[in-house]
């Protein structure tokens, strides 16, 4: 097997026993990129020089016996994470030339853990999308079927792992942007509890929903990544100062006697029958593992998309006001006065989906509408969270499909924003409630597209997610396929 196809834990073994060098791993990743990147377009920017230098440095460390959790491991970063001295675009024209003078906290943590950065992964512009089609740099394609979308908004981070153009990657999840592309690309994706991983340096889309998390090739790698990413950050007011367990300890533990909540609201009409079948199969595996399935209800599920499409755009409309052409980023040429500069820079700098959401959000907060929209949505959000609080009194983990359908065709939903929004129906509630969720591959459709199962747990119970996902992964014995690129 090629090094680039390996997992972190496999490579760590090999690094430790000297059968591979960091440079060899990085080179194998870049030769894969040379072979497939043109077709997949996982990356906005490759950092080959930096990566090779970092790998060389890692090899020196290895020689000295200084081996950290990610020493020599090639990692892709969603281009929403600020990287000091390296252009960070957020998939947008308005930031096409922005070079941050600072690193995101997770970038600092990954660097300290010895990671080698491969490049900045493609994404929907400002993470607004479910298909990675809204990127100013062009769409990313699903490696399992190049005519199809990889999911979004962290599409490039998902495909880079799925197509073995890196070992693991970082994404961000505001309404499903890690779990949905993970499911559609056949990899593991985890959205941690809100406040668990620092948002400092993560370009904000919707501040009360955004959370950073990893994409990996298996569950153990997910635990390894979480060990590096999780933890309190004094630079973020909403960061939670709570103890972080060693997530790796949950790998391989059984789930005998665990109660698994099956919410009836997530098994509704309109779900692709192949998804339903795969999820029913997953439930059987979980029962074989000793899990006890219980019916639960999350009564406000049907309101999640509506709540989300008020709160996320409202916060976004304010978060994106800073892109005004004054201090950084794109400024329209030939403008004579200030108002024109603002309006033209933002017209030319933002794509259609971003503008649409800024419009919805601005409208929802504007005089006379605040109570009807923003306040109402915030109240229903409280009810949605309460649903979960009640549910977790009855079960340890909730099991749902990650997506209602496998990957759809490129262009299929671009003209119907509402249909696009509804594709996030199973992932949004997690962000609204602030709880963690993981998507794990659970099979393929007849046309060979990956399908994911989602597990949800209560706040700060990422350990439970790792435990059940790892138990499922071990017992489901999903055939390991690789996309035929």
């Amino acid at each position: 097997m090629e090094f680039n196809q390996s997992t972190i834990h496999e490579l760590q073994e090999k690094i430790k026993n000297g059968s591979v060098t960091a440079s060899q791993i990085t080179e194998s990743v870049f030769s894969r990129i040379d072979a497939v990147e043109e077709r997949v377009h996982s990356y906005i920017r490759l950092m080959k020089e930096n990566a090779l230098a970092a790998a060389k440095k890692a090899d020196e460390d290895i020689k000295k016996g200084d081996i950290k959790p990610l020493t020599g491991i090639p990692i892709a970063l969603k281009d929403i994470l600020c990287t000091k001295g390296i252009t960070t675009t957020c998939g947008s024209h308005i930031l096409h030339n922005f070079v941050p003078p600072y690193n995101a906290t997770v970038v600092e943590k990954l660097t300290a853990a010895g990671a080698v950065f491969v490049g900045k992964a493609n994404m929907d512009e400002f993470a607004m999308g479910s298909s990675t089609e809204t990127s100013w740099f062009g769409p990313t394609r699903n490696p399992w079927d190049l005519e199809r979308i990889p999911g979004g908004s962290s599409g490039g981070s998902a495909t880079a792992v799925a197509a073995d153009e890196c070992i693991a990657s970082i994404g961000s999840d505001t309404g499903g942007s890690i779990r949905q592309p993970a499911a559609l690309c056949g990899v593991v994706g985890l959205k941690p509890t809100y406040g668990r991983v620092s948002r400092f340096g993560l370009i904000a889309f919707a501040s009360s929903l955004d959370q950073i998390g990893p994409f990996t090739k298996d569950v153990e790698d997910c635990a390894i990544m979480m060990n590096v990413l999780a933890g309190y950050d004094p630079k973020e007011s909403t960061s939670v100062n709570a103890e972080v367990p060693d997530y790796r300890q949950f790998v391989g533990r059984d789930i005998k006697g665990w109660k698994i909540g099956i919410p009836k609201e997530y098994f509704i009409e309109g779900i692709d029958p192949e998804i339903t079948a795969a999820i029913q199969q997953a439930i059987k595996v979980i029962e074989l593992c000793g899990g006890v399935c219980v019916d639960i209800s999350l009564p406000h599920t049907q309101y999640c998309v509506a709540v989300y499409y008020i709160i996320a755009p409202a916060e976004a409309s304010s978060n994106l006001a800073r892109y005004d052409g004054v201090r950084y980023g794109f400024r329209a040429a030939d403008v004579r006065e200030l108002l024109e500069m603002y309006k033209e820079s933002r017209r030319q700098g933002f794509g259609a989906e971003v503008k649409r959401r800024i419009m919805i959000g601005t409208y929802a907060l504007s005089a006379g509408y605040y109570d009807a929209y923003y306040k109402k949505a915030s109240q229903v959000r409280a009810l949605i969270k309460k649903d979960f609080d009640e549910a977790f009194k009855k079960c340890d983990v909730i099991l749902t499909p990650t997506t209602p359908t496998p990957a759809f065709k490129i262009g299929e939903k671009t003209d119907d924003p509402l249909q696009m929004y509804l594709s996030d129906v199973f992932t949004i509630s997690t962000n609204l409630a602030g709880i963690p969720g993981i998507s794990v591959p659970c099979g393929y459709s007849t046309s060979g597209l990956p399908i994911g199962v989602q597990f949800l747990a209560s706040h700060f119970e990422e350990g439970k997610l790792i435990q059940i996902a790892s138990a499922y992964e071990k017992n489901a014995k999903i055939e390991k396929r690789r996309p035929a690129l």
Binding site: A321, I360, Y373, Q379, V380, A433
Partner: protein
């Protein structure tokens, strides 16, 4: 109609977005669809429900009043589309 073309114009101005006639129509129709969908929230009685603006219950996150060196004028201006001397330059505000 939930939102009129005039409201779309007003909102675009508030958000400092220049929009063409074509976009205006498209946005009006798309925003209408979305707002109609969002209307389903009105099925719910929410009187007395405390609005939730944070996903977790953190309170009192503070910093000590200790100066940390700033990044300096050069670094501050490094990304500016139009820096002049030690300033960001912008077109005049027309009153």
């Amino acid at each position: 109609m939930k939102i009129s073309t005039r409201e779309v114009e007003y909102v675009a101005h508030l958000a400092r977005l220049e929009i063409t006639e074509g976009e205006k129509e498209k946005f009006t129709s798309q925003l209408n669809d979305i707002l109609l969908y969002i209307d389903k929230l009105n099925e719910l009685e929410t009187q007395g429900v405390e609005p939730m603006s944070h996903a977790i219950g953190v309170t009192n996150a503070f910093r000590e009043d200790k100066v940390i060196d700033s990044i300096g004028t050069e670094q501050s201006l490094i990304n500016a589309p139009d820096a002049r001397g030690e300033f960001f330059r912008v077109p005049k505000v027309i009153d």
